[in-house]
Subunit: 388 residues, 2 copies
């Protein structure tokens, strides 16, 4: 069956999840963990009340972690900024910072809970998105399914060869001239090889239609296309996230410049260097406020994209999770069909021997002598003495 991009059937709190933005949804899922205050903290807005605390944590934690994660060869970009750090432009809370998180689907080992971070690829040179790991698993599963079909195909060829040899031998003329009841039993024994051959041929045919073919055709070419769609969709969101992060950095720098300018002008006013400074300060303050608004907008856009990516990650990883369950159950079902066919084969094989057993039961040397003597006797009149 081809693969659809539709979302998995929503259940319970998920219904609302998809309708709202990430933070709120998480809050809906576990309100006790995300009290309103923590949400407001997460909302864009003047970073006043918490800034000091944030910087403190910035010093103590994020550097250490940057050191751990950012190996010299890795291209994983780790930055930190007040109360949070960024890995390849995704914002994570600093350890111990922010409200504790609970799994979205506890005790289910759901894909949607364990693949948020990018990791170094096996060679440790480039970074691999957690989502890529999920896609690799899907591709490997497809490959396993293909190789199982190959294995069954080889088994089919062995059965066909065996059947061919058996039915060829059953036609051999060896001991064809054996006579009587023994001859009949022998003929049936030879015939039974042909019956055995039929059983194994039937086995190989059913293996083909009921095991090999389903394994081979399960998830056609569409499957890999669909995986690519997922891949591009998520990757695009990551690119967008990166560009939005760049704008945030730019806006942050602009605001800093504006604040510095305002500061300078304010000092000039205190030492009364000019009388038209009053005007300059108003203008500088206006520009600084504007830069602050720009930064807020950029952060807001960034957070919107990250939320979008988050939702897609959850949706898609749960879709892939479902696909893997389907694959395992499909294979299980068809390997069961294999064992069923094997059992059938042994059963039918038994039955090919029974007619031979019966005719062997009724082998009778006396009967065979009678038949043979009747056909070959030369004369039953006994000689008598000659008289003169």
């Amino acid at each position: 069956p081809s693969l659809s991009l539709s979302l998995p059937r929503p259940e319970g709190p998920w219904v609302t999840f998809w309708m709202t933005n990430m933070a709120t949804s998480v809050c809906l899922l576990m309100p006790d963990l995300f009290p309103p205050v923590s949400i407001s903290q997460a909302q864009p807005g003047p970073a006043t009340s918490l800034s000091k605390k944030t910087i403190h944590h910035y010093d103590s934690h994020s550097l250490a972690h940057s050191h751990v994660l950012a190996s010299p060869t890795s291209t994983i970009q780790i930055k930190s900024h007040r109360g949070a750090w960024l890995i390849n432009c995704v914002t994570f809370p600093l350890p111990g910072e922010g409200p504790e998180q609970q799994l979205l689907k506890p005790n289910e080992w759901s894909y949607c809970d364990y693949f948020w971070t990018d990791k170094k690829d096996p060679q440790g040179t480039t970074s691999v998105a957690g989502f890529e790991v999920l896609l690799q698993k899907q591709l490997k599963g497809k490959q396993m399914q293909k190789e199982m079909a190959e294995f069954i195909h080889e088994r089919i060829k062995i059965e066909e060869e065996y059947a061919k040899n058996l039915s060829k031998l059953s036609l051999s003329p060896l001991a064809a001239q054996e006579e009587g009841t023994l001859g009949e039993a022998w003929t049936q024994l030879k015939k039974s090889l042909h019956d055995e051959a039929e059983v194994h041929l039937k086995f190989s045919n059913k293996l083909h239609s009921e095991v090999e073919k389903p394994l081979l055709t399960f998830r056609g070419d569409n499957f890999k296309k669909d995986l690519k769609k997922y891949d591009h969709h998520i990757a695009d969101l990551r690119k967008q996230l990166a560009s939005r992060y760049a704008s945030v950095e730019k806006a942050r720098k602009a605001l800093a410049d504006r604040q510095k300018d305002l500061e300078v002008k304010t000092q000039q006013l205190e030492i009364k260097l000019s009388n038209k400074t009053e005007e300059d300060i108003k203008k500088a303050r206006r520009k600084s406020t504007q830069a602050g608004d720009d930064l807020m907008r950029c952060v807001d856009l960034y957070n919107q994209t990250q939320s979008k990516w988050f939702e897609e990650m959850v949706t898609t990883s749960m879709e892939l999770e479902k696909l893997e369950v389907d694959r395992i159950e499909w294979i299980q079902q068809h390997l069961r069909q294999y064992t069923t066919l094997r059992h059938e084969t042994d059963m039918f094989n038994q039955s090919t021997v029974e007619p031979v057993d019966q005719l062997l039961q009724s082998v009778d040397p006396a009967k065979d002598r009678e038949l043979w003597v009747k056909e070959h006797k030369t004369g039953e009149v006994r000689p008598v003495d000659m008289d003169i």
Copy 2:
């Protein structure tokens, strides 16, 4: 087992049979059919009382029969002589002549009752002794036994080939990277092919030791030697019988000459041709009587040889009959062993699938996801909104 020339264990009347001459023995077997008078008729002695009747039957029957049996190309020698006819020097009663014969072993279709006459060989050119027909049957039986062993050998080769292919496939790396409970089931499925191979290998080994070998070694080279001994023994008696028959003919002619001579001399006496004839007649009568005694002796020797041949024919044909019964039962027994091994094979084959069934039962997609996620997860900390 090699073949002994010893007589079959005698039973009932047979005990005495072998101790006495043929006619008496037949009488012992069926006294009611061979009353003393008929025996005396069968005894050598002056052929007076029956000679006329005999000649009558000679005309009416034996010629007709001669015509039937003695085809122009056949070398079968058919002669007739008072109350009897001879086929290749063996004396048979004329049809309807002499006491009616009953089978030596009624309702048994025993070889000893049906192979007394020589017959034309299939090409109808030469004659084949009834005993040769029995020997041919033995040789054919030996050949059948050999061909059955060959057939089983072919089956063994097929099983070995099948087993080789199965265990080779079971070692294939196909889908070896399948993981978790599904991976375990798959590994067991592949292993089960190796178990199947073992079952078929065991089958072929047992076929070799318990069916092929016994069929092949049953009755070694000694067997044909023993048959030759039988053959020569019986053939020699037939040669002796022929030469004794020749002596009878010679003596019969001599007697006829003597009787003619006596007749002439008697006539000469009547017409008083000479006076010393009295003496000549005495002498001629003496010589005639002597020739009569010679003939009696020759006929007696002939009958002794024929009796000896008769006894050997009965003894040996019963021995061959026993050999054929043994052969059929031996083959029956070993073909039964074949079917037993086939049943075993199907049974053991069944058991190779059960461990696969069990592991397929316990395939669990959730369990497999847990195992895989534990090994490959990249990070479970979810992203949070960036603040300014």
